[in-house]
Amino acid sequence: MATNAIDQTRRMLSLVTYLRERPGARVEDVARAFGITTDELISDLHVLPMCGTSFRGGDLLDIDTDGERIWWHNADAVGSSTGEPLRLAADEATALLVAARAVATLPGLRESDREALQRATAKIEAAAGESAGASSRLSVSFESEGGVFADVDRAIAERRRLWIRYYSPTRDTLTEREIDPIRLFAVGHTYVEAWCRLSEAHRTFRLDRVAEIRLLDEPSDPPPVELRDLSEGLVQPSAEDPQVVIEVGPGGRWVAEYYPHDSAEELPEGGLRITLRAPDPASLRRLALRLGRDGRIVSPSELADSAREAARAALAAYGD
């Protein structure tokens, strides 16, 4: 990972503090404490001996490493002020406090974790002083279904299988299935990643779509799977999935905000021509119905037809 100069400077200032207190610190331990690779640490250690209060006076930091341990030979000579713990910057306090407050609001969080987080937040607020002020200008709420969350969390902790009744909005049906939960994560909504024994596949379930849940006595036994990379966004349509083209007017532009798409071309009068991929285009019938006069399905024609038929059948009930 490439680090920018600001982050590297920030890190090196903390490194100096850390090393002053820990003569002969092990490279591995320091890298772990700083959340960086040993290569990144070694490159910082190459820069530090060029730093000091005067390059001519010779009072540079005499820090070196044999690849295993790190030594600072003139820590006492450079003066006690070099390496004192530094106050938190406004952005640092904000990033930490907003994250801690957001996580503390998760309804399903273990009580002991929540209390630890609240104690930590209060201590950081006190230590950050003025820098903590700006953190009130940013806030994050997670949403999660408290009861369902607690059951999933317990199942993961006790490694037990779950039975759920799960709602699929694309088919408008509820299905019953047994799942072996692997982890919970929250990106806007809260999800459980699990091995689904009904589809015999690795699946992600949104907690607010779980209509019913029961802990089973059977042990959970998910096969080893690669966990989803959350940095890539939740929906990753495949290039082999069939293409769907939708044209929307200004009132249907929200489609581009909610659906990951290949392209969205501007149309005259503020409309968009959106091209996206769906493993099962029929699942977009709901979208076609919802759009009404704000948009239409250009292709595939089967999808456009099925929306038209559904609308006609619905109108029949109104005597239309």
Binding site: T9, R10, M12, S14, L15, T17, Y18, A33, G35, V47, L48, T53, S81, E84, P85, R87, L88, A89, A90, D91, E92, A93, A95, L96, A100, A102, L106, S112, K123, A126, G129, S131, A134, R137, L138, S139, V140, E143, I156, R159, Y167, P169, D172, T173, L184, G188, H189, P250, R253, R286, L289, R290, G292, A307, R308, A311, A314, L315, A317, Y318
Partner: protein
């Protein structure tokens, strides 16, 4: 080869922190190799290049949290110092449990600037003695907690608005309302940013409308530009973004509606129903909260829903169905 920026910043920081008296620009330049190298170290051009670099570096160090004081010395020259007492972190005694909870929470940011700031904060705290959290890395299914919350930030407008909220700077941006053909320019005094259901919103004072407004960041088109000058409206103590967004989403019901729903269909409608009874022939009759946007939602269920009342909702649904049937 030019000396890397991180090395230069580090030297400036150490000089400012280590000195017992304020140092002039001239003294700093003499102590820091990178500054001597700029523009060959002499001549007008070199002097200007050094001055620009020095100003930028000072700003960067301030962003990193360094408090740099500026004083005029006896000769009338400006001198700089990062005093120990104003830069020292007060003692923070975090136990292992608190450290672990904080370390987990700090991972929520997916935005580069905040992720960098959060890990920078943890590094400072660790250097000051915060215990290291146990890593559960050996067992991907075990570990400390089963939950991995993430805060998504995909909107380009996020970072400039975050800084504008922090520094209380007015901004302008192009904003497209959800049903508008073209974006319009907004002049806003930004108050707070809030993430709700995975989307970011800005609350602030809209200067043209002379009132509080909430903006969805994904609808900001083009760059956010900051404007000079102070806020003209008072910033309220408490801003409620969530209530406004819930009203947009139709979650604040203003009345009730009566619908027929085919048995087995429409679970989310049933989950919100105030009353449900069997209506025979494989249908149920439901009373549901009626707020903004209910017509569009009901149409999604196609022939499995029939609106009974009120009449205006019934007309809206029929209208929408006709548009699709014709399409």
């Amino acid at each position: 080869m030019a000396i890397a920026k991180a090395e230069r910043l580090m030297n400036l920081a150490l000089c400012l922190l280590g000195t017992r008296r304020p140092l002039t620009k001239r003294e700093l330049r003499a102590s820091i190799e990178a500054y001597l190298e700029v523009g060959g170290g002499s001549g007008r051009g070199g002097e200007d290049a050094f001055n620009r670099m020095f100003e930028r570096d000072k700003d960067d160090l301030r962003e990193l949290g360094l408090v740099i004081e500026t004083v005029e010395n006896l000769e009338g020259e400006i001198a700089y110092q990062a005093r120990r007492d104003s830069n020292r972190l007060p003692p923070v005694a975090l136990d292992a449990e608190e450290a672990a909870a904080l370390t987990l929470a700090a991972k929520v940011w997916q935005q580069a600037r905040l992720a960098g700031a959060a890990s920078g904060a943890l590094q400072k705290l660790r250097a000051a003695g915060m215990p290291l959290a146990d890593s559960g890395a050996e067992d991907p299914y075990g570990g400390h907690s089963a939950l991995e919350p993430r805060i998504p930030v995909r909107e380009a407008a996020f970072e400039p608005l975050m800084l504008a909220c922090r520094d209380r700077r007015p901004v302008t941006f192009a904003y497209r309302k959800s049903n508008a053909a073209r974006p319009g320019t907004r002049h806003v005094e930004p108050w707070t940013l809030e993430c709700w259901r995975g989307h970011w919103y800005l609350a602030g004072h809209d200067r043209d409308r002379g009132a509080e407004r909430v903006f969805r960041l994904s609808r900001i088109t083009g760059p956010v530009r900051s404007r000079a000058g102070a806020y003209t409206a008072e910033v309220p103590d408490h801003v409620t973004v969530r209530e406004t967004v819930e009203r947009w989403a139709g979650e604040i019901a203003t009345a009730t509606a009566r619908i027929r729903l085919r048995q087995g269909a429409g679970y989310p409608l049933r989950a919100r129903a105030l009353r449900t009874r069997e209506a025979g022939d494989g249908w149920d009759e439901l009373e549901i909260p009626y707020g903004h946007g209910l017509d569009a939602w009901l149409v999604e269920f196609g022939p499995d829903v029939v609106v009974l009342e009120p009449a205006d909702l019934r007309a809206d649904v029929v209208d929408r169905l006709r548009a699709v049937a014709k399409g």
